[in-house]
């Protein structure tokens, strides 16, 4: 029973983590923000 509960807690934690990460990613995408690495890549001529 204890093992089941632990699994359940871990699963919920993973879902929450992925969910918040996904939400952050979606929001970032909707704002069209670029990462600093991408900006540096864009500025430096190729």
């Amino acid at each position: 029973m204890k093992i089941k509960r632990r699994w359940l807690v871990s699963l919920v934690a993973i879902i929450l983590l992925l969910g918040s990460g996904g939400l952050w990613w979606w929001q970032r995408g909707s704002l069209h923000l670029l990462s600093n690495q991408q900006i540096i890549k864009n500025i430096n001529p190729t």
Binding site: H32, L34, Q38
Partner: protein, 503 residues
């Protein structure tokens, strides 16, 4: 990225002549426009038998007899001498004299012939209507530099005579660096339409370094071509360059980048979208861009405070000025006409409250820090006074002015302490462009760069009481974009500048 230096070959040729030791003061080697980018300069190479007791000085005579300008040469304590001479005029012949005492011989007179001014400069039709030299902040070797939105940057004396220009067309950025060199924003070639290069050069036109930036960055709202470093550059304490740039994404002119001075690579970026609320750029429609990109911020002036490590910036399209720490990226203060209630709560603690009678800025340019004492900052800017997003709708378009403010950080207040321009009314209103520079004697040089809707630029020097001591009008071409983006009073032989033809 650092590009190939076009003046390396000429530098080697002239260094060879210096090392030959064959030229004397009686028969010097002279070269007008020695590096082919600065036509009103000359290099004089000669060898002295005795060491001069002090730096050799050359004198050039301007058209009016009273305009005798001394030029200091970098030749103190050296028998192998070469003098860099600039601020000549054209097309008249000029005489240069070295004073007797220095070399224990009669004054030496040289005659140098410069070429004609290019049409792009002779069309400027420079008209000086006021020139009170006794009250102007004009010392030895000091000229008024005019950096236009396109074509040649040039400098005039108190009579309006062109005494220096560069053949390298520049745009927006023209900065005097701590080593006395100049940093200009140039085209990468004579046929290029974009201004994607930063060039470190000296007054004789010898190029030290040239940085090329990506040609794929977004166009700004006012630009038909891409200008990578769109408005301003400041030198950081480590001598790297902090530049205003676009990130290549949906938004433009809202990113700062630190360019390594040695490698030319971008080593740090600050995306101002991450410092300010998303509501400011997510639904921005106040200005439209030719490229379809969102120019919500339009950073047009930078200042780095060496004492605190804070950056001050002006953002035209939000009618906003602000300060943040460069290392921590933490905001110190924000000043704009945007109502406190319309800011998200997180930002309200940074807002400065204007005292009674203090104007809010509108589409402002050229923010400079004048002084800093404890919690009090004194700043100067050019307030275009146009209501872009958060400006004053009631006064918008009626005048433009230079304004000085005192910021009290202990009370988070801002107080207007001085201004000039309101009395000139709509005649000197400029929708875009402009600059204000506080001079050494307390006077202020103001560039009403986009006067009469881009037909002319009017540069005025006023004293603290608002009396005009210098007034010059330059004809501008809307097609060629030759209005004066900034005007500076500049020393052409600063003490930190050393010229050595052999290195």
């Amino acid at each position: 990225m650092i590009t190939k230096n076009p003046t390396t070959k000429l530098t080697k040729q002239l260094a060879k002549i210096v090392k030959q030791k064959t030229y004397s003061l009686d028969h010097p080697h002279t070269k007008v426009n020695p590096y082919r980018t600065s036509p009103l300069t000359a290099l004089v190479i000669f060898r002295l038998i005795r060491r001069p007791r002090s730096a050799i000085r050359w004198w050039t005579r301007a058209p009016r007899p009273q305009s005798l300008i001394p030029l200091t040469a970098a030749t103190k304590g050296c028998t192998r001498s070469r003098s860099s001479v600039c601020m000549l005029t054209t097309p008249t012949r000029l005489r240069l004299k070295s004073p007797t005492a220095m070399v224990r011989r009669p004054p030496k007179t040289l005659t140098l012939q410069t070429g004609k001014l290019p049409k792009t400069l002779s069309q400027a039709d420079i008209k000086v209507t006021k020139s009170d030299q006794s009250k102007m902040a004009i010392g030895q070797n000091t000229l008024t530099l005019i950096n236009r939105t396109a074509q040649e940057p040039y400098a005039i004396d108190t009579d309006g005579q062109i005494r220096w220009y560069s053949t390298k067309w520049s745009q927006h950025t023209f900065v005097q660096l701590s080593n006395g060199h100049l940093l200009m924003q140039n085209r990468t070639s004579k046929t290029a339409k974009s201004y994607n290069a930063l060039t470190e050069t000296d007054y004789l036109g010898r190029i030290c370094r040239q940085y090329k930036l990506s040609g794929k960055l977004g166009k700004g709202s006012e630009e038909s071509t891409i200008t990578a470093v769109h408005h301003d550059v400041v030198e950081l304490p480590n001598h790297n360059l902090l530049v205003t740039i676009s990130d290549g994404g949906k938004y433009v002119e809202d990113v700062l980048a630190e360019v390594d001075r040695t490698s030319g690579k971008v080593v740090k970026v600050i995306d101002l979208k991450r410092l300010l609320p998303a509501t400011m750029y997510r639904n921005y429609h106040q200005t439209s861009s030719r490229s379809g990109k969102v120019d919500w911020l339009h950073v047009n002036a930078l200042w780095y405070d060496q004492k605190t490590g804070n950056v001050l910036l002006s953002a035209r399209n939000q009618d906003l000025i602000m300060s943040f720490n460069y290392q921590t990226e933490k905001i110190n203060w924000i000043y704009s006409g945007k109502k406190a209630a319309s800011w998200p709560k997180k930002w309200r603690k940074y807002l400065l409250t204007p005292t009674k009678g203090t104007t809010i800025t509108g589409g402002q340019h050229g923010l400079t820090l004048l002084s800093e004492h404890g919690q009090q900052l004194k700043i100067l800017l050019y307030n275009n006074n146009i209501n872009v997003t958060n400006g004053n709708a009631k006064t918008s378009g009626k005048y433009s002015e230079a304004v000085a403010y005192t910021i009290d950080l202990s009370k988070m207040t801002i107080k207007q302490t001085w201004s000039y321009g309101k009395t000139l009314g709509t005649a000197n209103f400029t929708r875009v462009i402009g600059y204000a520079q506080r001079l050494s004697n307390g006077n202020t040089l103001i560039d009403f760069g986009y006067k009469q809707n881009e037909q002319e630029s009017n540069i005025i020097e006023v004293d603290a009481e608002g009396n005009q001591v210098f007034n010059v009008t330059l004809k501008a071409s809307a097609t060629n974009r030759t209005y004066a983006y900034r005007a500076y009073r500049l020393n052409f032989y600063p003490s930190n500048y050393q010229f050595d033809a052999t290195k």
